[in-house]
Amino acid sequence: MSREAVLATIRRSLGRGPLPPDQTAMLLGRLACHPRGLIPARSRLPRPEQIALFVRSVEKEYGTVERLADLAAVPGAIADYLARQNLPTDLVVGPHPELLALPWSERPLLRLHTGRAEATDIVGVQQAFAAVAETGTLMLPSAPVRPTTLNLLVETEIILLRASRIVGAYEEAWDLLRAAQQDGETARFMPRNVMLVTGPSRSADIEQTLELGAHGPRRLHIVLIEDDAAPSGET
């Protein structure tokens, strides 16, 4: 009822009726091939420099990055980071297979439980699907193995990211998402929630002065695994 009224006013204002079939076909074609706009030159770099741009961009936005040679070193690096920051050693860890496979038992002081985050959780560990060098942005699509609350409720968010999952521009990250989640039957690739995260939570509402840790995490710490090869297509 309202729907028809709104659509009718739009068509009347544009001085036409419903679109002719050839125009509709053209628009459907544009949606299907989703053309890219302009991709800024700043991220068109050789791999090592692209990864360096990512790290620099994260740090510019008050995030921190620790580069590690392999996954086996992750629990130790996390334990040391928490000790340096004087943070508790209770962790809520996302149920992603990559996180569950880490050799946590080598650091018995870390007490962890897996699942979504609750308001009482202080430190969380989340796996990143991909990242964008252009602005130091993490791509965190929701999934049973990547609950959204882990990005929001903890005070300190630790992210596990493989260097091979860093791309230059947002458009390349969308392509990774399309390739990973394309369901042959419905062609629906979009998860319920995709968060693009650039640095820790902040607000400048009090006298236009930047303060970190508004509602989301106060600290964003990225553990970057140097598996430097071209980006792969897995989740």
Partner: protein, 474 residues
């Protein structure tokens, strides 16, 4: 929110005399302008992106019916529901219906200008539902029972002592003698207070910066993360969005996102850019069980095909007001409704009528800075001029202004008399101002000379000098 725009002149005078507001404006203006300039300078492709962004929005508006229908189909496929609303009243009823459907008592809210436009807070409260603003700036103005004074910095007009006073008055369960040593202490108190509200809410309402036809998604952009908590924790997520938020694809959104944060806060990218598509999926450990979009028209579809269509490209970045010399001295409340500054001066008459908002397009010096910084290249001064014309045609201006405009038009159409009159005026003013070279006061122009001097003419008009010197300019 009831429009107070007819009182613009009174509001503006009060704003000029408000010392606290003037302090806030002095602090805010350079902050926004410098940060934007630095962000734009760091991206050499910015100008080209503006052009592409404009093309994307124009293309979308020309085919808006197609994209809205495609988007709505994709929302349904993802398990969400679209509520088409022609008017603000329809939208209020839709929101209330959803809230009642789940027996909601507390509703948390992310920042949304549409929610201000439809006045949802007062309406929910009148119906026994408590709305809680969770954006820090929106929260403090809700505590003060006042509207936002800026579209992205709603509480920029408040100073630190205002925050402390309002927190002491509102958070009575905390020790009365607590000390706020730094701004961070204010932030921490708000974080703790609002965390409890997030967890208690039955429904979360957010706005939308964009809607994506390709995927049926809504997009919000925040720095605090409040919008994400608002839409993740409660059982129900309601998105308030107007029809012109539409974009075809994720690639199109990527172009506009490169423009939005740089134009708004001067960030390269906001902290949280979140794409939401339907409710919780099988196996998900969190997320809302229901996803609704209340889609509002409220007069926008009637702007298509008119000289005001370009206004529908607006992405609400606030660059126009951050660079406006008028907004820069009177602030946002003077404009009397939801949208202040140059974008408000164009949009408000379209949404509430030029009879109520006629002062706003007149409150411009036509300096053109708003258009020059607008990421969507909206010809704001040109459209303000259109509103002035409509106001004049409909005999809405005050008789004094109309009489003088008519006199001016009569004179301007008679070059001989015009030159004679200007020659006489230049001569008289030139003679009278010979000694000081400027006037501190002029009869009938006391308001104008109160803030500045009028330089005295040299006794000759442009035309006579032009004739004397010829085209060579010697």
């Amino acid at each position: 929110m009831l429009p107070n725009s007819p009182a613009f002149k009174k509001n503006a005078s009060a704003a000029l005399a408000d010392a606290g507001l003037q302090r806030a404006l002095e602090r805010t203006k350079p902050h926004f302008q410098h940060r934007r300039a630095a962000a734009v300078a760091a991206l050499p492709e910015f100008e080209e992106l503006r052009e592409i962004g404009r093309e994307i929005k124009d293309h979308t508006l020309e085919n808006l019916d197609f994209y809205l229908e495609t988007w709505a189909e994709n929302v349904a496929k993802a398990g969400g529901e679209v509520h088409w609303c022609a008017t603000a009243a329809d939208a209020r009823e839709a929101v209330l219906g959803i809230c009642r459907g789940v027996g909601a008592k507390v509703v948390t809210k992310g920042k949304s200008m549409i929610s201000e436009e439809i006045g949802i807070n007062d309406f929910l409260e009148a119906n026994g539902i408590t709305p809680v603003e969770t954006d820090l700036g929106e929260y403090i103005i809700q505590l003060g029972h006042e509207p936002p004074s800026h579209i992205i910095a709603p509480a920029f007009h408040l100073n630190r002592e205002d925050w402390e006073a309002r927190f002491r008055a509102a958070h009575r369960d905390l020790p009365a003698d607590r000390v706020f040593h730094e701004r961070h202490d204010i932030l921490t108190e708000a974080r703790d207070e609002l965390r409890q509200r997030f967890l208690a809410a039955d429904v979360g309402i957010t706005g939308a910066n964009f809607l994506i036809a390709e995927t049926g998604s809504s997009v919000i952009v925040t720095n605090e993360g409040n919008g994400d908590l608002t839409q993740t924790l409660p059982k129900v997520h309601i998105v308030l969005a107007s029809i012109e938020k539409m974009l075809p694809t994720l690639e199109d959104a990527s172009v506009l996102l490169r423009l939005l944060a740089r134009s708004a806060t001067g960030q390269d990218f906001s902290v949280y850019t979140t794409f939401s598509t339907g409710p919780r999926r099988p196996g998900d450990l969190d997320g809302p069980e229901q996803y609704h979009v209340v889609l509002l028209d409220n007069g926008r579809s009637a702007m298509l095909g008119t000289e005001f269509q370009d206004m529908l490209r607006c992405i609400r970045c606030s660059a126009c007001m951050n660079h406006c010399p008028v907004f820069g001295v009177v602030g946002g409340h003077a404009y009397g409704w939801v949208y202040p500054g140059p974008m408000g001066a164009v949009l408000t008459p379209a949404l509430i009528g030029v009879d109520k908002a006629g002062h706003l397009p007149n409150a411009s010096t036509f300096c053109g800075r708003c258009e020059s910084v607008c990421p969507m290249k909206i010809p704001l001064p040109g459209m303000m001029r259109h509103w002035r014309e409509r106001e004049f045609e409909r005999h809405l201006g005050p008789p004094f202004v109309r009489r003088n405009l008519a006199l001016w038009a009569w004179l301007a159409r008679r070059p001989g008399i015009y030159r004679l009159a200007t020659r006489a005026a230049a001569l008289a003013l030139g003679l009278a101002g010979r000694r000081h070279g400027r006037f501190r006061r002029l009869p009938l122009a006391g308001g104008w000379t109160a803030g500045r001097d009028l330089p005295a003419p040299e006794g000759e008009t442009f035309f006579s000098r032009y004739r004397r010197q010829g085209r060579s300019g010697r």
